[in-house]
């Protein structure tokens, strides 16, 4: 196993720091409470730290971070009861309290709340799509074929559009 010296820790921090928003996003979208979010954030960081030696720089750091983050988030234990409702309430609550400095905070809240209504796979796909990852990159991160990725992106977009439209009514 890779020796995790202080120097490596420094390198790791430099590697993660510009992309920590990705971890924050995934943590927020896949959890129901602030406590859970911080827990997941730490779990993802831990797994990234464990997998960091495997990163050879073949792909973008963001791609690698998304891969690990989705694996951790999707295989994490969650209580299914009231999950979706709690999730939506949580997303709205946290963003209302933290994003009050910006203009268009309502749009952000609305978007997060809409994404939170999707299932885990669609959530992952939409996250990557909105981050402007290409179809090929999305297929690579999720491990699905490019055709499948295209179909899923199309379906997830329709689903999201439907949710957003319904909310506007």
């Amino acid at each position: 196993m890779f020796s995790k010296s202080e120097k490596t820790k420094e390198e790791f921090s430099e590697f993660i720091e510009p992309n920590k928003g990705i971890i924050g996003r995934v943590s927020r979208l896949f959890t129901n409470s602030e406590e859970d979010r911080l827990d997941l954030y730490q779990d993802i960081l831990y797994q990234l730290w464990m997998c960091y030696p495997q990163f050879r720089g073949d792909s973008k750091p963001g791609t690698f971070i998304y891969k690990v983050a989705f694996n951790v988030a999707c295989t994490r234990l969650r209580k299914e009861k009231r999950r979706k409702k709690m999730h939506e309430e949580y997303v709205l609550h946290t963003l209302n309290s933290k994003s009050n400095t910006s203009n268009g905070k309502e749009d952000i809240n609305r978007l997060y709340a809409a994404i939170s209504k999707l299932n885990d796979v669609d959530k992952s796909i939409i996250t990557l799509f909105l981050d402007e990852y290409s179809n090929d990159e999305i297929a690579e991160i999720l491990g699905i074929s490019q055709v499948n990725a295209r179909v899923k992106i199309h379906r997830a977009k329709n689903q999201l559009r439907k949710i957003l439209t319904n909310e506007n009514k």
Binding site: L45, Q47, N71, K98, I144
Partner: protein, 217 residues
């Protein structure tokens, strides 16, 4: 990529990303050196297995204590020894198999392979475990029940001089046999139910996610 129909959302997403970066804890401030996540489905399966082992050990210890008090005879004790050894061999084997399923192994790969890896290993392990439970149950359970029945008959006939056939028609015998025949009849279903609640539902949640990824319709 065609993004024109989602340009507004992409812009909103970018703005949200800036907030996330501000809100996210500083990486150097998060302790990752000794942290090991215990909140994964794999850990839950392992935890349930250990819990099951602990319950079996407590139950066996109870039988042993009762046995040492001399309530049952030597033939029963031999079967208890046999059952204990079989239970420990089974527990050791499955613990080893479970131990090989490590959540850290597949976090570096993509989601579909990660899910496939966990599902394959856990599913295979639980399927063999269920079969082993059924085989052991159907070998040991009837023998232990008959031995207890034999013990009950001897204690009853010591008080009242009756034959085995006469004892068979007593209320005590009927209740005992009735309960245990039902237990044997529904043993397969009971094993299936408890394995599903301890392990199956967790594996199924991963399977559901995997199917969502696989679905190309």
């Amino acid at each position: 990529m065609k993004t024109n129909d989602f340009n507004k959302e992409i812009e909103t997403w970018k703005r949200a990303g800036k907030h996330e970066e501000q809100d996210a804890p500083d990486v150097s401030g998060v302790d990752i050196s000794g942290k090991r996540s215990l909140n994964t489905i794999v850990h839950k399966i392992k935890r349930n297995f250990l819990l099951e082992c602990a319950i079996v050990i407590i139950a066996l210890a109870f039988i042993w204590v009762v046995s040492f008090l001399g309530i049952y005879d030597i033939v029963f004790n031999i079967w208890v020894v046999g059952f204990t050894i079989a239970a420990f061999i089974m527990a050791a084997y499955f613990y080893k198999v479970m131990f090989d399923i490590k959540p850290d192994d597949f976090t570096g790969t993509h989601l579909k392979d990660a899910l496939k890896s966990i599902i394959d290993k856990a599913d295979k392990c639980i399927r063999i475990y269920k079969q082993a439970q059924n085989i052991c149950g159907y070998i040991f359970l009837p023998i232990v029940i008959l031995l207890v029945y034999r013990y009950l008959f001897f204690s009853y006939s010591a008080k009242q001089d009756i034959s085995l056939i006469e004892y068979f028609f007593t209320t005590q015998s009927m209740i005992f046999l009735g309960i245990h025949i039902l237990l044997i009849a529904f043993y397969y279903k009971l094993v299936e139910l408890y394995i599903k609640s301890l392990y199956g539902k967790h594996i199924n949640s991963l399977k559901k996610l995997f199917e969502e990824l696989n679905d190309e319709k």
